[in-house]
């Protein structure tokens, strides 16, 4: 970690060390090696189970605190799916909920000091982003057939403009998974790196108070960003899903 020591009197910043993938039990990292990624993904699963399964085990009509949180998250995502995609999008609610709960829990677990933020890795968010992209595209063609392509043909625009708009629409469509995944990974990585840089400044006694206040402020911001990025990822998924279900503008 970056706070190890100041070597040779100079400041030692290693803000990217926290993103290192390490094998937990030694050895080379192959596809199935248990790494810190595995550990924090497993903790995310446990957090999801703890939030949504354990809290609701009593099935109270008048909910307690835990159950209220579970119901709140259920209602939040359910309403989002219903509002954005309409009634026929409800059957994809479990998938959207899976994405939301995973990203939310992974983001918040990443805020625990010394933890590993799985969602700060482009490999993870790219799987999520391209997964959504491929699923939505396949769904669009299965549901609408070739008329799914009318998504790119803006029929409300003047005819001469339509080919140009179609090119722009196609480009923007294929950029979606990239922006979708880089937005999440970039936000998480940048926030954590900034936290680490501020923490590195705390090694100097003179500016340590400022640095620590800075760490606290950035931490608060990161809590916000964690929730907002989970929300943004989910609502964009809903928007893409709506495009697949109703491609006509």
């Amino acid at each position: 970690m970056a706070d190890e020591a100041t070597s040779g009197g100079g400041l030692s910043f290693k803000p990217m060390d926290q993103f290192e993938v390490k094998a937990l039990f030694g050895g080379d990292i192959g596809m199935f090696t248990i790494t810190n990624v595995t550990l924090w993904l497993a903790l995310a699963v446990l957090a999801v189970i703890g939030l949504l399964v354990l809290t609701t085990s009593k099935r109270e009509t008048v909910p307690g605190r835990g159950q209220s949180i579970a119901e709140l998250m259920y209602g939040f995502v359910y309403k989002m799916v219903e509002d954005v995609t309409g009634k026929d999008g409800i059957k994809y609610f479990p998938y959207i909920m899976t994405l939301f709960m995973f990203i939310l829990c992974a983001n918040f677990l990443g805020l625990i000091p010394m933890s590993f933020t799985t969602t700060s890795h482009i490999a993870v968010t790219a799987v999520l982003g391209f997964g959504v992209f491929i699923a939505v595209t396949v769904l669009g063609f299965v549901k609408n057939g070739a008329s799914f392509l009318s998504l790119f043909w803006v029929s409300s625009a003047p005819l001469p403009l339509r080919p140009i708009l179609a090119i722009i629409e196609v480009i923007s469509y294929f950029v979606r998974p990239v922006s979708h995944s880089i937005r999440l990974a970039g936000n998480m990585m940048a926030g954590h790196a900034v936290l680490k840089v501020f923490a590195g400044f705390a090694q100097v006694a003179v500016i340590a108070p400022v640095a620590i206040v800075g760490v606290m402020a950035i931490y608060g911001l990161e809590v916000l960003v964690s929730a907002i990025q989970a929300y943004v990822f989910t609502i964009l998924t809903c928007v893409y899903l709506k495009d697949a279900l109703h491609p006509h503008h």
Partner: protein, 178 residues
């Protein structure tokens, strides 16, 4: 980011260059475990958590609906009870008014009879009294006449005259009339 690290301080000798995120050696591992994670979360959510929460919410909605219906029912009952109470009150009031009216009429009748009787009695008593007074008055006149005759007789005798009974009586009668 690499430039950042260089600008902020020196890169430690052992650290790998660039961002760990871009090291393709770890991609397969991350992707594999991520897919496992997503599958586990999906199955937990779709098999356990979401149906359970949906059931809880539906049950609560049902309970609320039932409770509202029960409340409406009770409210209707309370309104009916209130109407019945108002009706009973109005009936009782009308009955009381009727009884009061009847009683008043009966008392009035009794009173009228009693007053009539009393009036008759008073009239009889008054007539009797008048009669008695007339008698007394008549008696008093006779007595006065006698006394006056006697007195006139005596006065005439004292003055040495001879009293003529007939003249005295006529004179007294004449005076009594005047």
């Amino acid at each position: 980011m690499a430039e950042n690290t260089n600008a902020a301080g020196e890169v430690a000798a052992g650290a790998p260059p660039g961002m760990p995120q871009l090291n393709p050696d770890y991609f397969a591992n991350q992707i594999f475990w991520l897919i496992v994670t997503l599958l586990v979360i999906y199955f937990v959510l779709s098999r356990v958590a979401l149906p359970r929460i949906a059931a809880i919410l539906a049950e609560r909605q049902g309970t609320i609906t039932n409770d509202i219906a029960a409340a409406e029912d009770l409210k209707a009952k309370a309104e009916a009870a209130e109407a019945a109470y108002e009706k009973a009150l109005a009936d009782a009031r009308a009955e009381a008014q009727r009884i009061a009216g009847e009683t008043k009429a009966a008392i009035q009748a009794d009173l009228d009879v009693a007053i009539e009787k009393a009036d008759a009695e008073i009239a009889a008593k008054a007539a009797e009294s008048e009669k008695a007074i007339a008698e007394i008055r008549a008696g008093a006149q006779d007595a006065v006449k006698e006394v006056a005759k006697d007195a006139a007789h005596d006065i005439v005798a004292l003055m040495g005259g001879k009293a003529d009974e007939k003249a005295i009586t006529a004179a007294v009668n004449d005076r009594m009339k005047g």
